[in-house]
């Protein structure tokens, strides 16, 4: 009945040596077929280890898969489906696998017991840095990363179903058949590449024929049903709120293949049925980790499913189930016969019995009973309960998630008959008619409480983390008695197998040590993921350039053609400066852009500023609530600057608002705050003032907007705006706005706003005309030597004018601090007004924004410097504030800075030290008005 196709030979290498296996093999079965016994070294003691299990419970056989110049470590050989060309290597050894230098650790084991790592911190002090730290660092860790880029792709998907069935053994298959035939929309997921669970590995009959016949017929029927989705090689690794499950599908183990290696599925299910089976557990006795000591169920799998005869096998069991294993010698603990020690370092050669007798054997099959795979029941806080008859933890129906049922061996129903019966019962519970019960075995397990053979030698409990029974006893002696503490002190139950084979044995040893029962000892909490999920699968296609979206401004293409360097602001890419040939560095470009703008005309793409359309009869009233100043009185055709506070009184954002009609305002936000401000406005509208007649919509992406600034701005725009619109200073003064047409009929909006301090406008057109408009304006602007400028020049000009921007609206500053206290309307309430009046925020010595220039024109200012009175040592006590923005002003030919200084407005003219301790820069600066350039604002009103 084997499931191996020996007509299909697959070649693979392990540690560089060539081997052959067959279609249907795992790497583990293929290695056993080739009589490779040692497949890896243990974590701490570097003991030779062989294959112990057959599925995801495998603690020993961790290997690297190599390919495409990289490798993936820590893959369990039992879950790798063999493929032609597989190149695998063992890990965790220094030198060759058969002669690991670090095997010396095994002889040093008295010094490496539980918690040894923590003890190295304590004494002697000098040893830590010189000896322990470098040695431990080099030896520690499971597997090694290649550090090469991952050549594979990963994908994500979403699925919806009525019922998700987890596990395709007898219980899962029967339930899927029942619900599938009843027309339910179901998903059946199993982590094996072949469905059938233990039926693939046991010698059972169903309906008087080999069980495999029933499995194949059932799968055939399921495949014919359009409402059933079968997902093999899909591990359900997590159970989340409201019926959401995480599933990891492995499409191939080959590195660098053309298809996505893993697909991360998010499955939405109205209900789920856990039919995840059970995992056999070992028994702890001396040297029970030698290659050749295996789980009895694994021995049967390799024999029945993979057709591998493990020669000269003995059996150690404490239950009836183990007795199904073919063995030359049987030691049943219930008859007082058991194994006390194993001879042979790189593979079992002999067994010592409790009678003192020593017998020859090459393999030992061990069955210590079965643990239901209850992990997924616990992800939403359910706690399993101890069953004293079955001697295992079973799900507690009282704490299970209401939408989850557990059936079959996962529910402690170990016989095949019981699994089928559970399946039919749950089918009825879900309102469907079950099919007839297949006839099959119904043998009880009859397990005894035999966990551990006591002795002087080390007996392994957790093979993956090298935790022995002694370590658990030691942890208890050192005061770590709670099961959660023991786990962390000894690392019992951690890493890739998450204690599948070790947890209950560990609890039993702990219970024995403390004299408590197992239920009194309790169990650790299972959390997602149930099996390892590669980080690449979580990332999916969101890598590199696709990690986040990119937003391009309408002038992006034109700017790129003209030497732009782009800077990321959120998702946006904005022109930072546009270099011309002959310019040696960014400062050359920025200085030129400022000088050309201030002497003639410059254009800057300001599309990224948030734009919010505010409409309705109460739009003005609404804006009064969210801004400190008043908007209901704003005349149609006019703009106004506005400052918005958070409810705690701190400045949130600023921008301009234009009134296009009685009921229509257009308000702008800063680039960074476009999203949060819109969210805040919707909060105010829906949650605080639901009866106001006002509606909001974001139009940031719909309008391309350019700032046109400089003495020749109007002359340039007169060539763009259609002649029937008068934009002279008289007809369209500072802070005017209006809707008009340009370029012979194209719809546009014009706002006379200035951030640069120049005669300036902002012109907006539907976004699709943005590229055409920038090209038209630059062409018409040739007559004036118009320049396109970037965010650096924008920044320089706003600092020259003393306008606050993101550096000043930094989430800690108030209207007063920003010098905008006068904007706060005394006549009305607004969000943040009450708390902005708190003592600490309006105290006389609170921070106020002022300007700074270096006393010596040679000196450079540094952003982030703190202001310290002359002669004082920089310290928190002598700190008088900080610099928030600095720039070289090509107009004033000096560095200038904006910053916050205690009681700054009253300290103009004072010389203070700007100290930047990290840059070791200490510059004497004079406190000045923040309005460095054209302080009377004459240029913008002409």
């Amino acid at each position: 009945m084997s499931l191996i196709d020996n007509t299909q030979v697959l070649s693979f290498t392990f540690n560089g040596k060539a081997y052959q296996g067959y279609e249907g093999d795992t790497l583990a079965s293929a290695l056993l077929r080739n009589k490779v016994r040692v497949v890896g070294r243990s974590f701490k003691y570097h003991r030779p280890r062989g294959i112990m299990g057959v599925g995801s419970e495998e603690p020993n056989a961790l290997v690297e898969i190599h390919g495409a110049g990289t490798c993936e470590p820590n893959r369990r050989a039992t879950t790798i489906k063999l493929f032609d060309g597989l190149n695998a290597k063992s890990q965790n050894h220094m030198g060759p696998l058969n002669f690991d230098v670090l095997a010396i650790n095994d002889f040093m084991h008295p010094f490496l017991a539980a918690g040894f790592y923590y003890k190295t911190f304590m004494w002697p002090k000098a040893f830590w840095e010189k000896l322990y730290e470098p040695v431990i660092r080099r030896a520690a860790g499971l597997g090694t990363l290649s550090k090469a880029a991952d050549p594979d792709s990963y994908d994500k998907g979403f699925l919806h179903c009525d019922t998700l069935i987890i596990g395709a053994g007898p219980a899962g298959l029967q339930t899927a058949l029942n619900l599938g035939l009843a027309g339910h929309n179901i998903i059946l997921a199993d982590d094996d590449f072949r469905m059938g669970g233990r039926l693939l590995s046991e010698d059972y009959e169903i309906n008087l024929a080999p069980a495999l016949n029933w499995v194949n017929e059932t799968i055939q029927t399921l495949e014919s049903l359009p409402n059933v989705r079968l997902m093999s090689r899909t591990s359900i690794y997590g159970v989340y709120d409201h019926g959401i499950y995480g599933g990891l599908e492995t499409t191939t183990d080959e590195i660098g293949s053309s298809k996505p290696r893993h697909i991360l599925w998010r499955i939405y299910a109205k209900s789920s049925i856990l039919a995840a089976g059970a995992t056999e557990r070992p028994i702890a006795f001396a040297n029970n980790d030698r290659p050749g000591v295996m789980l009895a169920s694994a021995v049967r799998s390799y024999k029945n499913r993979f057709d591998i005869d493990l020669e000269n096998t003995a059996l150690l069991t404490n239950n009836d189930d183990g007795l199904q294993t073919d063995a030359a010698h049987i030691f049943d603990t219930r008859n007082g016969s058991y194994v006390t020690d194993v001879g042979g370092r790189k593979g079992v050669r002999s067994l010592t019995l409790n009678t003192g007798e020593k017998i020859a054997a090459n393999h030992l099959a061990v069955s210590g009973g079965w643990n239901p795979n209850v992990h997924l029941t616990c992800h939403k806080r359910a706690r399993p309960k101890w069953d004293e008859t079955l001697r295992c933890f079973v799900p507690d129906p009282k704490t299970l998630p209401s939408d989850m049922s557990v059936i079959g061996a996962a529910n402690g129903q170990f016989s095949t008959h019981a699994a089928f019966k559970d399946a039919n019962d749950v089918t009825e519970k879900l309102g469907a008619k079950p099919s007839s019960l297949p006839q099959t075995e119904d043998a009880p397990i009859n397990v005894s409480a035999f966990w551990h053979v006591k002795g002087k030698k080390r007996a392994w409990v957790d093979f993956q983390n090298d935790v022995t029974a002694k370590d658990i006893t030691l942890a208890h002696q050192e005061g770590f008695s709670s099961v959660e503490h023991v786990k962390r002190y000894t690392t019992l139950g951690m890493a890739t197998d998450q204690g599948r084979t070790s947890n209950v044995v560990g609890l039993a040893v702990l219970a024995d040590t403390t004299g408590q029962s197992i239920p009194e000892t309790g169990t650790t909490i299972f959390r997602p993921p149930y099996s390892p999920v590669p980080i690449g699968a979580f990332a999916g296609t969101h890598r590199g350039q696709h990690f986040k979206p990119t937003r391009l401004t309408p002038s992006h293409k034109y700017a790129a053609e003209n030497g732009a360097t782009f800077i990321e602001t959120g998702y946006w890419k904005r022109s930072q400066w546009l270099a011309r040939s002959g310019e040696k560095g960014w400062r050359d470009s920025v200085d030129r852009e400022v000088l050309m703008t201030r002497s003639s005309v410059g254009i800057c793409d300001v599309t990224t500023l948030g734009k919010i359309d505010v409409q309705g009869r109460d739009a003005g009233k609404f804006l009064n609530k969210v801004y400190v100043n008043t908007f209901s009185t704003l005349k149609v055709g006019k703009c106004r600057y506005g400052l918005m506070l958070r409810e705690d009184g701190i400045a949130m954002d600023d921008g301009t608002t234009a009134r296009l009609s009685e009921t229509h305002f257009v308000t702008t936000t800063t680039t960074a705050k476009a999203g949060p401000v819109f969210r805040h406005l919707e909060f105010v509208r829906q949650c605080l003032y639901p009866d106001m007649d006002v509606h909001l919509i974001s139009t940031t992406d719909q309008w391309a907007q350019f700032s046109v600034a400089g003495p020749n701005a109007r002359k340039l725009l007169e060539k763009i705006v259609d002649p029937e619109f008068d934009i002279s200073n008289e007809a369209f003064p500072y802070m005017a706005c209006g809707e008009l047409t340009i370029c012979g009929g194209a719809r546009a909006r014009l706002f006379r706003l200035s951030f640069s301090g120049e005669l300036a406008y902002e012109i907006s057109v539907p976004a699709r005309y943005g590229d055409a408009l920038i090209r038209e304006m630059m062409q018409k602007g040739e007559a004036f030597d118009a320049v396109l400028y970037g965010t650096e020049a924008l920044g320089v000009m706003r600092i020259e004018k003393g306008h606050a921007a993101g550096n000043e609206l930094n989430g800690t500053t108030t209207a007063q601090a920003l010098g905008l206290g006068g904007f706060v309307s005394k006549k009305k309430d607004c969000i943040g007004k009450v708390l902005s009046q708190r003592e600490g925020l309006i105290a006389e010595d609170s921070l106020q924004m002022v300007g700074f220039i270096p006393v010596s024109s040679q000196d450079k200012l540094t952003n982030g410097a703190h202001f310290i009175p002359k002669g004082e040592t920089p310290s928190p006590e002598t700190d008088h504030g900080y610099m928030s923005s600095v720039a070289w002003s090509p107009m004033l030919e000096t560095y200038i800075g904006l910053g916050f200084l205690k009681n700054g407005q009253n300290r103009l003219g004072e010389v203070i030290q700007a100290s930047h301790l990290m840059g070791n820069s200490h510059v004497d600066v004079t406190v000045v008005s923040p309005h460095f350039f054209d302080p009377k604002g004459e240029r913008l009103r002409v």
Binding site: Y240, H242, Y268, F683, Q686, C687, P690, V834
Partner: protein
Amino acid sequence: MIIHHPLLGPRDASEFVYLGDASLMNRPNPKSETAAEDFHRYQYLRDNPVGQHRELWYHEQGDRSWLVVTRNTLTHDITKVELARDVARSQK
């Protein structure tokens, strides 16, 4: 998590932005004599209950509704979802 939006049906929680305690809808009267103290409580003091919690979620990647979601903080069970605007109106 899945939030059953009153207008749009079941929506994944990743479409929403969380704000917190729905008491933020009860903005104090700024003209009250105790306004300073009232706003301090409103802004900074929140209950952190085990069990039922009424809280504000914003459907940012959706219809931009603010919702009042009644969620059990222990089990994450959601027992009620209302449009914040309806709640605000009914409280007037």
